[in-house]
């Protein structure tokens, strides 16, 4: 199974990863090979099989809706690339 340049460019936008033209060519080959490998799945008969999400079929545990965490904003923001007045700074979103 092959993957087109257009598909790779589209997926790169979805994944928020910048790829240049040269990388697209390399990815075309590598992702094509990986998808070839993955295509072995189509041979399996899975008509009456339930998909498996958890090895032990465990379900999400619920806990009481109580505050269990204390505010650690300073500790968390100390490791951020850019903050000001307790806010995370990012490039301007709305002109």
């Amino acid at each position: 199974m092959s993957i087109s340049r257009e598909d790779i460019e589209k997926v790169a936008v979805l994944a928020r990863i910048k790829v240049d033209d040269e990388q697209v060519s390399a990815l075309e080959k590598d992702l094509g090979n990986i998808l070839d490998l993955v295509d072995q799945l189509s041979a399996a008969d899975t008509d009456s099989v339930e998909p498996m999400a958890h090895p032990l079929d465990a379900v999400q545990r619920l806990r009481p809706d109580e505050v269990t965490e204390t505010n650690q904003r300073e500790a968390f923001q100390a490791i951020a690339p850019a903050t000001e007045d307790g806010l995370y700074l990012v490039p301007k979103v709305i002109e």
Binding site: A12, A15, K18, V38, P51, A53, L56
Partner: protein
Amino acid sequence: MHNKSVAELSRELESGKISSVELTQQFLDRLKQEDGKYNSFITITEEQALAEAKAADELRAAGKATAWTGVPFAHKDIFCTNGVRTTCGSKMLENFVPPYDATVTEKFRQAGAVCLGKTNMDEFAMGSSNESSYFGAVTNPWGLSSGEKRVPGGSSGGSAAAVAARLVPAATATDTGGSIRQPAALCGVTGLKPTYGRVSRYGMIAFASSLDQGGSMARTAEDNALMLNVMAGFDPKDSTSIDREVPDYTATLNEPLKGLKIGLPKEYFTDQLSPAMEEQVRNAVKEYEKLGATVKEVSLPNAKLAIAAYYVIAPAEASANLSRFDGVRYGYRCEDPKDLMDMYTRTRAEGFGAEVKRRILVGTYALSHGYYDAYYLKAQKVRRLIQQDFANAFKEVDVLMSPTSPSPAFVQGEKTNDPVTMYLEDIFTIAINLAGLPAMSVPAGFVDGLPVGLQIIGDYFAEARLLNAAHQFQQVTDWHQREPK
């Protein structure tokens, strides 16, 4: 001292022959002197280690020592350590200093163990050779005398190389598709991947959440039991952690193996395995027969689909998990972003290495509109078929045995050009993660002077039985004691 096991070091400390500060200093000196050859550590935490050692000596003096108090070890650099940078082998987290401890980290702290530093790994645990680390490849201590640098396996290659080179007696590790067992095999050490949910994933940087599991690496099965005694247990902070009693894994190490029923999956003894490797594995199985075990062939008919299912599920989950690295809250951010989209796309293009990007893109593709059913849902169905194969096998036998890897340690650079060739390294280990089962790799011989691993697979929560089987094997063999030259 560097040749002693955790159990032996624990007894040395208990007898008062040496203090933890002295022991820690000896290990640190050796680590700093030797690791240039292997690059098995990303960060050495000398100051913290000596402070922990001092605290351990005080605890012991106060009569509050555990088996681990004052014993040096290392963490794979995927476990968050409060105040000590945790890189996950990535440029993205080159300067990331977590403001909290992983549950596994906290448990070793409480046990009084002394962490010497953080071991090297494939970037975000994606790899089977430790060559995808931003901090450079790790060199296997085995085979160096031949003049060729070989890979230690991956992704826990730093932990495996460090234990093999006697830099630490034990190290934590993680396993998503074979990342404990394959490097343990290639470096001639003993490693255990527990049942999914047995060890908390809280603070263990996520790769593929339905497959990731923390575990242990050391030279002996007994030391792995000592590690699991610390690591295992329910954690309310991990929503997939299993609430089930933790036995003392050292208590059953000496049970006799008479009557143990061993299954050999015929799909794992095919022409993908070299005759020399197969001979070593079959010899190991013969040792078990001498110990009273019986052996029969079993079949895992869907095992051949495991790699295909894994390379949908793991990248899909990775693409979701790694979306958190966006340059906003922590980690790398590109220089001078011109707008938000530019910041996201360049941060991720510059911060992630090639293999991580490939997997994110494959995963994004498999989850995208029009492909979800054909890839992700199909893979989840195949996953159940694989699990059922194991369930059927465990109706007939107690444990399964196979080679851990198809070949011994290969030369650095040999498989880096073709991702799919590299993926086949995990051909015997990946199905176990899909099923969520526990498994070990135990040193079981040599081919051309390079270690061979025997994989022992158990039913859910059968870690004690695996450790018992590995320990008994190590009472009658000395493969695990061999030292690289």
